[in-house]
Amino acid sequence: MSVAALLFKEIRFRWLSFLLGLFAVAAAVTLFVALLSLERASEDETRRLMRDLGFNLVIVPKDTNMEDFWASDYADKEMPEEYVERVANAKNVSAEHYVAMLRKRVAWRGKQVLLTGVLPELGALGKKKKSPMGFQIPPGSAYVGYELWRSLGISDGDTVEVLGKRLKVVHCMFESGSKDDISLYAHLHDVQAMLGKPGRINTIQALGCMCYGERLPVLRQQLNEALPEAKVSEMSAIAEARLETRHMVAQYGGLILLIVLIVGTLWVAVLSFLNVREREQEIGILRALGIRSGQIASLFLWRAVLTGLVGAVVGFAAGTMLCLQLGPGLFKITHAKIAPLYPLLGWSVLVAPLVAAAASFLPTMAAVTQDPAVTLVRE
């Protein structure tokens, strides 16, 4: 008769008690896995939604008058187009999604139009390539703002002539309630040709780091080192909104996980105490038969480890299924990216048995130190 045989026979006999422990661990792991998986999905969704708010950084020539910039929505000074590559390839600038732009207000078919040329986005050097945030307009094409196409009767597929260049309208934009409604977007090189400014841009838009603290001074210093001919400004409302959203998700997720961990641990501890109490006389007789305290302790600790191990696997499966079920309803944009987070299985299998064993530690100590004079002679 081995201690392992005793362990499995006891579990088979008190299967309900084992199942209750298993349920506690599995419930905790389910919530842990579901919350983390949903939080990951939420991060993706938030990142995507926040990204859709637009770029939060503008890099303009150093001598740009910012009063004029904010008044007219573009810089009155220009800089070489190659600057966008320089800043994107700089090692220590905490930003990404760089878009070179040339924007001017022009008169077109009796309207004041913000003619905007954009170059395809450049990612930051050394960072994983990400899907573009803004427009990717092929040469010879145009995106037309809501007020323009509505008032001028322009439709998708039309060809329009702008400052002597013919462009095919590939997208009539939705109403945005912003200056996009009076904008006409085209490829940067087309706009440079229209305005007679080849190789020139007046703005680089980018997405800055979402971190607390002195973001802007740090970024200015980084940019000053990488591109001393330019300066940076932040659209802080957008940045703060992004930051607060991410922070809130992380904070509440962490709090719920902490509560789940505490409740799960207490539950396992209580069940362990009940198991020890139920088995007082058995423990007494095992000691009387010469079975060592360490062997008796191992009966309880291995039981807890098994509970944690099986609970972790069951919990991971349940949590993942929960996330896959709930995810598409909650995250309409990024639901296709929701997938099992297998590293969580490793963590669950590692941590749950440890926590279960820790929760059973005191009951186990109570088991091996109990007085046999009390338990063995009790009628």
Binding site: K9, L286, L289
Partner: protein
């Protein structure tokens, strides 16, 4: 075989100190059959567990088979108990999730010793329990449970058998049968210390000592 020297055991409770044994000294020769009698709560069970290395005395020494039991480490004491002492209790204390055969084999979990399934089955046959070998304790009568407990106590052929009211829950017929097994063990050279209330059980012994208020009365 057994020597107790001025053994004192005090339990510390919330209501203060409760003396269970108070300066008990006596010895038991190898092969002797001793009964310990006395009123409830007089310290008989504590005495038995103290001899068995289960309850450390507050004061005094307990020597079994030439070894100062409480000078041994906990692990050594457990091994000593496994090799030399068999316990039988009034409440049988069979492990409910094991069959009778598995209960009898339980002492092998301590490791050491050579007893195995063949010895266990032989003991069950001796105690008329062969047909109950694969039954759980809940399926046994009280007499069968005590016989199974006795078989478990004897599996490793201990030199000393400590029994605490082994017939306390049995009808006279079963009690007589169980006592006959104790006598058999004693005749085979085993030493028995038996705590009992019952005169019929005490009649099997060579000698009876009485405990009153934690002290040896006779």
């Amino acid at each position: 075989m057994i020597a107790l020297e001025n053994v004192r055991k005090v339990y510390r409770t919330k209501r203060g100190e409760v003396p269970a044994l108070d300066g008990v000294s006596f010895s038991v020769a190898a092969g002797e059959f001793l009964t310990v009698r006395g009123p409830s709560g007089c310290g008989k069970s504590t005495l038995l567990l103290t001899i068995g290395g289960m309850v450390r005395p507050t004061q005094g020494t307990v020597t079994v088979d030439g070894k100062d039991v409480y000078a041994l480490s906990a692990a050594q004491r457990a091994a000593f108990r496994a090799d030399n002492i068999g316990f039988v209790f009034q409440m049988f204390h069979l492990v409910p999730y094991l069959t009778v055969l598995e209960n009898v084999l339980l002492p092998t979990a301590a490791g050491g010793g050579s007893a195995g399934e063949a010895e266990a089955l032989a003991l069950l046959e001796r105690f008329r329990m062969t047909d109950r070998a694969h039954h759980k304790p809940a399926e046994l009568s009280t007499g069968e449970r005590q016989r199974a407990a006795l078989a478990r106590a004897l599996l490793r052929r201990p030199g000393l058998l400590l029994a605490d009211e082994p017939t306390g829950n049995l009808d006279p017929e079963n009690a007589a049968e169980v006592m006959s097994y104790f006598t058999e063990y004693h005749h085979e050279g085993g030493t028995v210390v038996l705590v009992t209330h019952e005169q019929a059980a005490a009649d099997h012994a060579h000698r009876t000592v009485t405990i009153r208020g934690g002290k040896l009365a006779q």
